[in-house]
């Protein structure tokens, strides 16, 4: 019990959770744009994150590109994949888009699993983080000398990831409050009406999917540098639904709800690690991990029952749906 309490009180642990929350927040901001504003049921968001992570890692390992260039190409690649998937899939009805995207994300994962030469297959990719660890160490030293606090790699990542969350939030806020965002919301409400008023729904939905996918790739890049190791098991479809939980927790169409939802989700998800008291102490670690998902599920059910619009959602809007 002392060991558990020790971990529970450890700054290192919560720092790790905070980095994870930041990555979740970025990942879910992309989905918020796609679903909350454009109304796209993307169930394959993780696929675009995987493309971001792996493109960057492969470019660094196999083409010796510098980190920044590799990251940039990774984001652009994910956006292009968004367009490639979107072009046929967005012509389908919403529920078919959901099926198509989840299939896409599985295709990506299984492709990664099998193209061993480039991705290491089930063994994963290592050795892409050299540039980053140098950069991180240098930045850590700089920050330490400025603040007289020690900066380990996780702490450096923490001060990198959250400003990016803020930046993406601000960019999306400006976009969604512009006429561009008005068209997006109109398409979400009724595609035919927008179409009849001279707005091309496909064009806007493609933009939403491309931008959302690019944001997923950014999350993937941070994710790579948190783990320093990539493996296909990190890109299971389940991860997409973490983003869905966060979007619904925070409130659909509420950008500010995403970081809050992400923190709550990460804390619950990590906090349930400490469910070691009886009777849960009878379970082994693997089973206890499943309990975490049960807890997340119960919280979602409670949310749907008591606050179906999410933490920041507007109840009036929910009531407008016939």
């Amino acid at each position: 019990m002392t060991f558990v309490l020790g971990a529970f009180l450890s700054i290192d642990f919560w720092q790790y959770v905070a980095v994870t929350a930041g990555i979740y927040a970025i990942f879910a901001l992309g989905l918020q744009l796609e679903f909350g504003f454009a109304g796209l049921l993307n169930f394959g968001h993780i696929g675009f994150m995987a493309i971001g992570s792996y493109t960057m890692a492969i470019l660094i390992v196999h083409a010796s590109l510098p980190m920044w260039l590799a990251a940039l190409i990774a984001i652009v690649t994910a956006m292009l994949f968004g367009l490639v998937v979107g072009l046929p899939a967005l012509r389908l009805r919403a529920d078919y888009l959901a099926i198509t995207t989840i299939a896409f994300s599985e295709i990506i994962r299984i492709f990664i699993l099998n193209s061993v030469r480039w991705t290491g297959g089930p063994q994963g990719v290592l050795g892409f983080a050299g540039d980053y660890t140098d950069f991180s160490a240098a930045l850590g030293r700089r920050l330490s000398s400025l603040t007289h606090i020690s900066f380990d790699p996780d702490r450096v990542l923490l001060v990198l990831v959250w400003p990016i969350v803020l930046l993406i939030y601000l960019v999306l806020r400006r976009l969604t409050r512009s006429p561009w965002g008005r068209v997006m919301r109109a398409i979400r409400e009724d595609e035919d009406a927008a179409n009849a008023l001279g707005k091309n729904p496909l064009f806007y939905k493609l933009q939403a999917l491309a931008i959302g996918s690019g944001i997923a790739a950014i999350a993937g890049i941070f994710f790579s540098y948190q783990l320093l190791y990539l493996s296909p098991t990190s890109f299971e479809p389940l991860f997409t639904f973490f983003a869905w939980v966060i979007v619904l927790l925070g409130g659909t169409g509420r950008l500010g709800g995403v970081p809050v939802g992400a923190v709550i989700f990460a804390v619950i998800f990590a906090g349930t690690r400490f469910l070691e008291f009886w009777p849960l102490s009878l379970l082994d670690d693997g089973d206890r991990a499943a309990v975490r998902l049960i807890v997340v599920g119960l919280i979602l059910i409670a949310l749907m029952a008591f606050r179906p619009q999410g933490i920041f959602g507007k109840r009036e809007e929910l009531l407008l749906d016939r």
């Binding site: 400006r174 976009l175 512009s178 006429p179 561009w180 008005r182 068209v183 919301r185 109109a186 979400r188 409400e189 009724d190 035919d192 009406a193 927008a194 179409n195 009849a196 008023l197 001279g198 707005k199 091309n200 729904p201 933009q207 169409g253 009036e316 809007e317 407008l320 749906d321």
Partner: protein, 270 residues
């Protein structure tokens, strides 16, 4: 409030919309069967016919929601058949829907502003690179939208969600919103259906006023015979996917074919 329609200056007796030999089947049924009709610029033309005559399908074909199997549609001397709805709307042909499509989670004002044409802020890069132009245009559009809402007496609801409006108010909003696109022709699909008589009367008054002041053209589907007879320059009658008569209200009233096909089935107890 409504700016002059885009497109060529109107002359008397010129055709703005010409549907020629248009056909569309659903399964084995010819919903629209070799329909030809011409709409004169600045006229108010009614499209009538019993249920299932093909009026709404014809509207869908003209506005680009359904591609015709054969035939051509000329709008301001340009082919629009096969073009998608947004392209047709950008050329100045706008339509409303039988079942209103208020964008419920947008405010009434946002519904109006959305419809305005030529918005630089609708392009991704302009949001960032031409922020000042975008803002200036927004102010302009907001003003125009508010003026239009005042005309339609919806201005007190500007900040409400469109989803909170009554059925009649939604019809008014849809018409006002359609006019925000600066159209040359407005297609109204049963603008009076489900609207209380007072609001309905107002809708008709707006239609006449806008036509008289700005030379807009209206083509509308309606079932109320009194309305159709007193508020149209011309009436086109459809039955079973075909045009069976086309003329002035007085001519249509006397037309035996119309009486049989339309008034007969609609009125006579069987």
């Amino acid at each position: 409030m409504i700016d002059e329609p885009r497109g060529p200056v109107h002359r008397r007796h010129d055709t703005i919309l010409e549907v020629e030999d248009v056909t569309k089947h659903f399964g084995g049924v010819a919903a629209v069967d070799r329909v030809s009709l011409a709409v004169e610029r600045s006229s108010i033309t009614a499209l009538i016919g019993p249920n299932g005559a093909g009026k709404t399908t014809l509207f869908n074909v003209i506005s680009g929601f359904i591609a015709p199997e054969s035939g051509t549609i000329l709008f301001q001397n340009e082919r629009i058949d096969g073009k998608p709805p947004h392209a047709v709307a950008k050329r100045g042909l706008v339509r409303t829907f039988q079942i209103t499509k208020a964008l419920t989670k947008l405010s009434v004002l946002e519904n109006m502003m959305l419809a305005a044409p030529d918005q630089p802020g609708e392009r991704f890069w302009s949001v960032w690179l031409r922020a000042r132009t975008v803002k200036a245009r927004e102010i302009e559009i907001r003003q125009r939208a508010m003026e239009a809402l005042r005309l339609f007496r919806l201005d007190h609801l500007a900040d409400d969600y469109a989803g909170t409006l009554s059925g009649g108010q939604r019809k008014l909003l849809e018409m006002a919103r359609a006019l925000m696109t600066r159209p040359s022709i407005v297609l109204l699909d049963e603008p009076m259906a489900g609207v209380n008589p007072t609001l309905g009367k107002r809708l008709l008054e707006h239609m006449h006023q806008i036509r008289d002041e700005h030379g807009l053209t209206f083509l509308y589907v309606e079932h109320d015979m009194d309305v159709v007879m007193t508020h149209s320059d011309r009436i086109v009658v459809m039955a079973d996917g075909r045009v069976i008569a086309d003329g002035s209200p007085a001519e249509i009233r006397r037309d035996q074919g119309v009486i049989d096909a339309y008034l007969g089935t609609a009125g006579a107890p069987r």
